[in-house]
Amino acid sequence: MPDLVWFIVRRLFAALIVMLALSLAVYLVFYAIPADPAHLACGKPCTPDRLEQARHFMQLDQSTLQQYLNFLKGIVAGRTFGDGAAAVHCNAPCFGYSFPLARPVTTLIMDRLPITASIALGAAVLWLLLGVSLGVIAALNRGRILDRLAVGVALLGVSTPSFLLGLLAILVFGFWLNMVPVNGYVPLTESPVDWAWHLITPWIVLAILQAASYIRLTRSQMLEELNLDYITTARAKGAGELRVVVTHGLRGVLVPVITLFGLDLGGLLGGAILTEKVFSMQGLGDLLISAVGQLDVAVVVGVTLFSAFLIILANLVVDVVHGVLDPRVSHG
């Protein structure tokens, strides 16, 4: 096991470096765009004097490098805009401050995260179960009707846009059949049942769309796996078919599946933009879209970096899970 610990430490260090490089890139890209956040803040009529004041207050009058360093410092130690009674405080970890919304970006993200996380995690569990089990069933029935059916469902899933399936689901199950709520979000802490009930439609919609690639990946991987010599060994040992498939076959299938899963989930946690829009849920995706509309650069940078952070985190988790699943990785 010390092998594994050392492996995790190495990966954490690499992740930190990637994050740093990424933050610089994101910061530069978004601050290079011609929109001037100070312009929005200074109101109308905007005299050059007041504009200069706003720039100074938002610390936009400093050099780009200095601004970036301020941003980094804010993450570690927090930062303060202006001074005296008008000072605005942004506690560490400060990922910027949204002047239009008058709130720290970190707070905005943390407010919206539970909604996005609820959608993403619930859907992820569903699509992983659905995708892997259908993929295995397809592989075991290769060329037969069940296989064709699963592959067909997968094809349909990949090619359907999420807003179309989402709207259809709302129309059929929300309005016509009146089975599920049409929109809205209830926090888990308020009522777990209502929480799940409001989320069930977006979960299923997302799961159907995402499961497609998992069905295909699991199927092809399982077919390959079943041809391997150690599967024959397992049969020769006297293992039953279920044991052969689940204990000996699935392990190798899960390695690439988990990789895809980690990246998909990491991406989705950064905001399921279309799904959130369709189901009117104020998650991270919704936050990002409105920030873009209002040229609220601090929020755009914050959410983008947060999404990137999630992807890197997901990669890290995937690497560790790989190390656990495949001894050749962590011992190598």
Binding site: T233, K237, G238, H248, P327
Partner: protein, 331 residues
């Protein structure tokens, strides 16, 4: 020969493929008694591995198997999968050619040996693990208790093959099928592994079916030999019959292609011209006829009439499927 534990009679294996029916094994018979070793010899594609897979019931679903496979007189062909499962790994076990791919890379070797035991014994995991360590120790893995937690990629080729052998022998099987057990190993390790197989066979009285194309190994360990060519038996007899009284031109060809220390080094190794026929391509006459150096001595019969295994007069159970009545070397 003692009462055989495994008997195979008139075994046929036909694969149905998109290109039609392919007869991979076309009627072979063999038997092996406890403590004895039968070697099945032949080139790649001669049907030797398919025969062993057929005995284990491990062929894919597009294979049609007919004939008799008797384990202690009990017919195995046509047994429901559930019954066969109880026999696999328990009464008949298998050692594979490439131990690296035969072992599951995701599980420790101790777990894999213990699994083989647990599949046939209702014991706790802990007991099974102890049994696995005991077995790993028996096949000569040093520090077995610690090494049992290692994964296949952490072992050398020879050690991995020892693990596979431990896995095969953990249930004390009556029959061990070793499919080219030393082909993937260094020469020095080959000798160790063969010695190990002989030792455990002597200790447990296991009947062994050794599939090999290495005549050196065969001469060393086999009691009886079955030479296969194109899915059929070319020659069958004791190991002495084959090495001193080979009667089939194909067997002679194999012997001539074997390097030996007891002949002058200047003598070149001979080769058999041509290559083995694809299964099912020769339907009449002798399958070896196109490559045979002795066809002239027999004439048309080689092309029109399929030779059957016939006893060699005065040589006990020695049989050959050749129209050439006399020993080719005497002609």
């Amino acid at each position: 020969m003692a009462e055989p534990v495994l008997e195979v009679h008139d075994l046929h294996v036909t694969f149905s493929t998109e290109g039609g029916l392919v007869p991979a094994v076309d009627g072979i018979d063999f038997a092996v008694a406890p403590g004895e070793t039968l070697a099945i010899v032949g080139e790649s594609g001669s049907g030797k591995s398919v025969s062993s897979a057929a005995v284990m019931g491990l062929l894919p679903s597009n294979a049609d198997v007919t004939g008799e496979v008797l384990l202690d007189g009990r017919e195995l062909i046509g047994l429901p999968n559930d019954e066969l499962r109880k026999i696999r790994g328990n009464d008949i076990a298998m050692v594979f050619q490439d131990a690296l791919s035969a072992l599951n890379p995701y599980y420790s070797v101790g777990w894999q040996v213990a699994e083989a035991y647990r599949l046939h014994h209702d014991v706790s995991k802990k007991k099974a693990h102890q049994r696995a360590i005991e077995m790993l120790d028996k096949v000569g893995i040093p520090d077995a208790a610690r090494r049992a937690d290692g994964y296949p990629h952490e072992f050398s080729g020879g050690m991995r093959q020892r693990v596979v052998i431990a896995m095969a022998l953990v249930n004390d099987p009556r029959v061990l099928i070793a499919d080219e057990p030393t082909t993937a190993l260094d020469v020095t390790v080959q000798a160790q592994i063969m010695q190990l197989l002989e030792d455990v066979q002597a200790e447990f009285g296991t009947a062994m079916v050794l599939i090999s194309h290495d005549l050196g190994v065969v001469a060393e360990v086999a009691d009886d030999v079955l030479v296969m060519y194109a899915g059929r038996a070319a020659e069958r007899g004791t190991v002495r019959d084959l090495f001193y009284r080979a009667a089939h031109p194909y067997s002679l060809g194999l012997l001539g292609a074997m390097p030996r220390v007891d002949v002058p080094p200047k003598l070149r190794l001979t080769t058999i011209p041509g290559s083995p026929p694809t299964p099912g391509s020769i339907t009449t006459g002798c399958a070896f006829q196109p490559r045979c150096a002795y066809t002239d001595r027999v004439g048309e019969r080689c092309i029109t009439e399929r030779p059957e295994l016939t006893p060699r007069p005065g040589e006990g159970d020695h049989e050959a499927a050749c129209h050439l009545g006399r020993r080719p070397s005497d002609v």
